[in-house]
Symmetry: C2
């Protein structure tokens, strides 16, 4: 059972009508942690998973490699409970602010997927 209850957000047709999908029917979804502001990951949604995510209150993505729906945390236990969701001026990128469960968002065990900095190995 989730420690952080899911908070469903209504999915309005007026919002969905603003979203633009790419040639594969997908739209990028940025995931940001509510408590820290940290950007955790970016993944992709199709229309079905975009509808499903706010409705369930958890992030659900479309896996391009596996070509299937991927409800974040179902296998890893590291679920993301949505606090708010928005879309950008062009309607071609989504932003989900979440409570991240468990160790983090990245399958490597890092809290954020963005754990490699450009120039980090440049030396002093």
């Amino acid at each position: 059972m989730p420690d952080t209850p899911a908070t469903p957000i209504p999915v309005l047709d007026t919002d969905l009508a603003e979203i633009t999908y790419n040639a594969d029917g997908l739209v990028p979804a940025i995931v940001q942690e509510h408590s820290t502001g940290q950007v955790l990951m970016m993944a992709w949604m199709n229309e079905a998973t975009l509808k499903r995510s706010p409705t369930e209150g958890r992030t659900v993505f479309w896996s391009r490699s596996r070509q299937e729906e991927w409800r974040k945390g179902d296998t890893s236990g590291e679920r993301q409970f949505i606090r708010s969701a928005s879309y950008d001026c062009d309607g071609d990128t989504l932003l989900f602010v979440v409570d991240q469960e468990g160790q983090g968002a990245c399958h490597t065990g890092n809290h954020s997927s963005f754990f490699r900095a450009f120039g980090a190995d440049a030396g002093a």
Copy 2:
């Protein structure tokens, strides 16, 4: 002249070798504000603008609509000075943390491009 001086970051071949581009030779770049943690926008880079951005210390994107390099703020005056840059575990998404100049990142005049929340018009 910039109020916030650009801070060039070395672009290492070892970092660039980790980056995966899509079929159009592009990679999505998330831009986050350093001072607030706010996610400002997402745009696209090709290899040339990815090299140019950290080197110049300012975000330079590839405009898919205009099919040309787009150095953020050159026409609007709302430049983005890079504080740090990283890439995700799959090497297919970039994250730039910046100081945002001027009114904001969005051509609509909003500080962030993500100013429309899902369900905002759902009523009480």
